[in-house]
């Protein structure tokens, strides 16, 4: 189970990096812990790249985010994004 979770996090991090267009600090790029990251402030995300990420996550993890759960303000927080994916993924 822990292995599965770790893999999911690796996949998510790879998806998140896909839409980062700025040069990232190595401490962020190679860190194993992304919990405290904010996609907008730390990675330069905006609503356009957020939409791309959401569609990629749905494709990769095989579920569709419900309207009730989708929130730009909350989900740009990496830790919250991870929690939402866990919750939505369980529903499937």
């Amino acid at each position: 189970m822990e292995q599965l979770v770790a893999n999911k996090e690796d996949v998510l991090w790879r998806l998140v990096l896909r839409y980062v267009e700025r040069d990232l600090d190595e401490s962020i790029l190679f860190s194993k812990n992304h919990e405290g990251l904010n996609l907008v402030e730390d990675l330069g995300y905006d609503s356009v790249s957020f939409v791309s990420l959401i569609v990629d996550i749905e494709d990769e993890f095989g579920f569709t985010f419900s309207d009730e759960i989708l929130s730009f303000e909350k989900m740009i927080n990496y830790a919250e994004l991870t929690r939402v994916i866990e919750r939505e993924g369980e529903v499937v």
């Binding site: 267009e21 356009v48 569609v55 303000e73």
Partner: protein
């Protein structure tokens, strides 16, 4: 949650709906006897339509989508950022699934007037938008010299897709043919929007551009309404919008009527039972090979304000005339710069403004255009199509290529 319940929740927070419209009495069926609001209502009552919880908040926190409005009166629609994202998400899912583009894919489009919130931006011929993911060119400048300049930008930018109006696609086709050019290999998909196109002309563009081409039908008031899948069906995006028809006619498996829209996502500025003015034909319950099941739009006949009813009851839409004009432009090297259409005493008159250097082809242009219009509209002999060449036509501010004049 049912559609009615959801829309009633939206309406409860809007003074306009609470005071003026009894939604309990309104039936959310696909065919209805009346719509609830029209464009005028959106323009006149926008502060009352706005969710009361946002009235006293900083309106800058809301996303504004804006059009100049067909009457020239500005029309603004307000969204929370989350609602705006949700409204667009279903289209982005399908764009990726069908055509492999996402919101970060480099895109080329054409603009008329750009806005920053409510304020028109300084006119720009070439501009990068959305953090550089969109390269946009002005629709007002489409001469060969302008397209030479645009083409250089496109080659450097290497877009993955283009989002353009059919009339611009025709213009680009004529230019590329003249210059013997091919689309850069980076472009794998062209999305047509803003004007309707028939399947014959779409095939003409597909055969020329050699990329995937699809139609998207939408409006700023609710965003995407329908989207064409690779099987050629325009699927209604029922996650985003509830579609009804008023003034409808059943036509053996299909229904034609004036489209009435309800946004299923906009809680800040509820749009419910909104008659936008387009007339469409819908086929219900289509099982498509793309995997979608539901209603599809088989024909968009344009805005009722952009239509003429001829004496034999034939409806002529500006879209249909646009196709004919753009068809002539594509086969004759873009001679027609602007045009208007009017109808009086059984005579359909097309007034076209032809570029000076094509003057000696006047008779050919008149004949070809007249033949194409008769063929397209399948006109009876009682209707006389006359093409007049004129020296100038007033340019509309929205940059749209087609106008219909009502002559009483």
């Amino acid at each position: 949650m049912s559609i009615k319940k959801k829309l009633m929740e939206f309406a409860n927070d809007s003074l306009f709906y609470s005071e003026n419209i009894d939604l309990k009495e309104y039936e959310f069926h696909k065919k209805v006897e009346r719509s609830l609001i029209k464009k005028n209502d959106l323009q006149k009552h926008k502060s009352k339509i706005l969710n009361k919880n946002y009235v006293y908040q900083d309106i800058n926190s809301l996303v504004i989508s804006r059009t100049s409005g067909s009457s020239g009166e500005p029309l603004e629609v307000y969204w929370t950022l989350d609602d705006y994202i949700k409204s667009n998400l279903c289209l982005w899912r399908l764009r990726k699934q069908y055509y492999g583009v996402d919101s970060n894919s480099a895109c080329v489009c054409f603009h008329a007037i750009l806005y920053n919130k409510s304020i028109p931006m300084e006119p720009k011929k070439i501009v990068y938008l959305n953090g550089g993911t969109i390269l946009s060119f002005s629709k007002f400048y489409l001469e060969d010299a302008d397209l030479d300049e645009y083409w250089n930008y496109i080659e450097k930018y290497q877009p993955k897709w283009m989002l353009i109006q059919p009339s611009v696609a025709y213009r680009l086709k004529a230019y590329m043919e003249k210059k013997n050019l091919r689309l850069p290999n980076s472009i794998r998909y062209i999305e047509l929007n803003g004007e309707q196109i028939n399947s014959t002309d779409e095939k003409l563009l597909k055969d020329f551009f050699h990329v995937l081409i699809a139609n998207m039908y939408g409006c700023n008031e609710v965003n995407a309404i329908a989207y064409e899948c690779p099987c050629g069906n325009m699927h209604i995006l029922d996650e985003n919008v509830f579609v009804q028809l008023v003034n409808y006619e059943d036509r053996g498996g299909e229904i034609e009527g004036d489209i009435v829209l309800s946004s299923l996502k906009n809680s800040a500025f509820p749009i419910i039972g909104y008659e936008i003015g387009d007339r469409v034909v819908i086929r219900n319950h289509v099982d498509c090979d793309c995997g979608k099941h539901g209603d599809v739009i088989t024909k968009i006949k344009g805005r009722s304000s952009d239509m003429l009813q001829l004496s034999d009851n034939t409806i002529v839409s500006s879209f249909e005339i646009t196709y004919c004009v753009e068809y002539i432009n594509s086969i004759m090297g873009n001679p027609i710069k602007r045009y208007t259409v009017s109808e009086k005493d059984n005579k359909l008159s097309i007034h076209v403004f032809v570029e000076d250097r094509f003057i000696r082809w006047n008779e050919s242009i008149k004949r070809e255009l007249s033949d194409k219009i008769c063929e397209m509209l399948q006109l009876t002999n009682e209707i006389d199509v006359v093409v007049n060449l004129i020296s100038d036509i007033r340019v509309a501010r929205n940059g749209k290529a087609n106008y219909i004049e009502k002559v009483n």
